[in-house]
């Protein structure tokens, strides 16, 4: 999952003086494949509301039998972890090797475990 709210405009870009037209909001689209278990993020699109986001997703993102179920989320509603905090967020899990079954050496005689 990559995108979230739009990044701030670069300060050297001129601002638009005209009143802003109401643009269709951006939606993130997730599709679950026919044999899949999870909805996977496939991209984004514009739609005026949630129902049309689903319809547009069907037309844009399922043309090649990509899936049988669609989730749409407003991009603005997606909350993401902060990339620069990757270290404290995720590295500590590396040191908890005992969470993995392979850490434990169970003799074969015990049978399947």
């Amino acid at each position: 999952m990559s995108s979230g709210t739009a990044a701030p405009r670069p300060s050297d870009e001129p601002t638009d003086e005209r009143p802003a037209r109401r643009e269709w909001p951006l939606w993130e689209i997730f599709i679950r494949g026919q044999h899949g278990l999870n909805h996977r993020h496939v991209g984004s699109l514009h739609a005026p509301d949630a129902a049309m986001a689903i319809g547009n997703a069907r037309d844009v993102y399922t043309r090649r039998n990509e899936g049988v179920s669609i989730w749409a989320v407003r991009s603005a509603d997606v909350v993401a972890s902060v990339p620069s905090e990757k270290g404290p967020m995720f590295d500590p899990a590396d040191a908890k090797v005992y969470r993995h079954p392979t850490f434990f050496d169970i003799p074969d005689d015990v049978g399947h475990m």
């Binding site: 269709w24 699109l45 514009h46 739609a47 005026p48 129902a51 049309m52 319809g55 547009n56 037309d59 844009v60 043309r63």
Partner: protein, 255 residues
């Protein structure tokens, strides 16, 4: 062909030509749509219709038994031999006209296909069953857009109303079954036409109400063409001139 086959052939041409001409018109929008998402959605509709065209016209050629393929029928008949309803050959106009044309047609197309899926002719039933899924989506989409834009902004409402008033007379042909339709219904091949008309009116009238659109005056379609009987307006000739030009310029060539 027997008299029966004759009627079936005519009817299959009607089904195939409706799909072909509407697909052709819709495909004119590719690259010019009002939004990228809509450009893509419209193309899906046209692709579905081209697929249905090939199935109906192939079967028509089979029934005729003169060795004509779907391409032969599409690219080598003159306008007076086409059997599409006049509605589908109308020019795109603005997007409101395109949308209303699609909506009025879809509302007839789906109940027709539902009934054809139970045709006593298994070949027709098979094609109709496949097409039903596609057209269920077409009608859902066009209805939804008509309601949204009818009950949208002042401008979208006005444009839809104008388009509706202009295209409504062409719906007369959809609601005026002829001998072929009644005959094939009696033989169990095609739907009971009056039932289709009733479903069309039920769906369309309700959608227009939800769209806050005014239903136009009835009965103005008498002289608007009887395309299903081969009496078209001026638009079809121009459309076919463009559509068939390359194929006709190189008779016998493979592409």
């Amino acid at each position: 062909m027997t008299g029966d086959d004759d009627a079936v052939f005519e009817y299959l041409l009607r089904l195939g030509d409706n799909c072909l001409i509407l697909a052709h018109r819709t495909s004119e929008w590719c690259g010019h749509g009002p939004a990228l998402e809509e450009d893509i959605a419209l193309a899906n509709t046209a692709l579905d219709l081209i697929g249905q065209t090939r199935l109906w016209l192939s079967l028509a050629g089979e029934v005729e038994g003169a060795g004509r393929s779907a391409d032969d029928l599409a690219y080598r008949r003159d306008a007076m031999d086409f059997r599409n309803v006049s509605l589908v050959e109308q020019p795109n106009g603005d997007f409101a006209h395109t949308l209303v044309r699609q909506f009025l047609f879809d509302a007839w197309h789906l109940p027709t296909l539902h009934a054809l899926a139970r045709s006593s002719d298994p070949r027709i039933a098979a094609i109709a069953e496949k097409a039903t899924k596609e057209v269920t989506y077409h009608l859902e989409r066009s209805t939804d857009l008509v309601i949204r834009l009818g009950d949208g902004s002042a401008e979208s409402h006005a444009r839809l109303q104008t388009a509706l008033t202009s295209l409504w007379p062409f719906s007369d042909e959809l609601r005026d079954p002829d001998d072929i339709e009644y005959r094939l219904a009696r033989d169990g091949i095609a739907p009971a036409p009056d039932a289709v008309v009733a479903q069309w009116e039920g769906h369309v009238f309700e959608a227009l109400r939800r769209a806050t659109l005014e239903r136009p005056e009835e009965g103005r379609g008498r002289f608007k063409g009887r395309g299903k009987q081969g009496r078209h307006g001026e638009h079809l000739g121009l459309l076919l001139a463009e559509m068939q030009s390359l194929s006709r310029a190189h008779p016998g060539a493979s592409w």
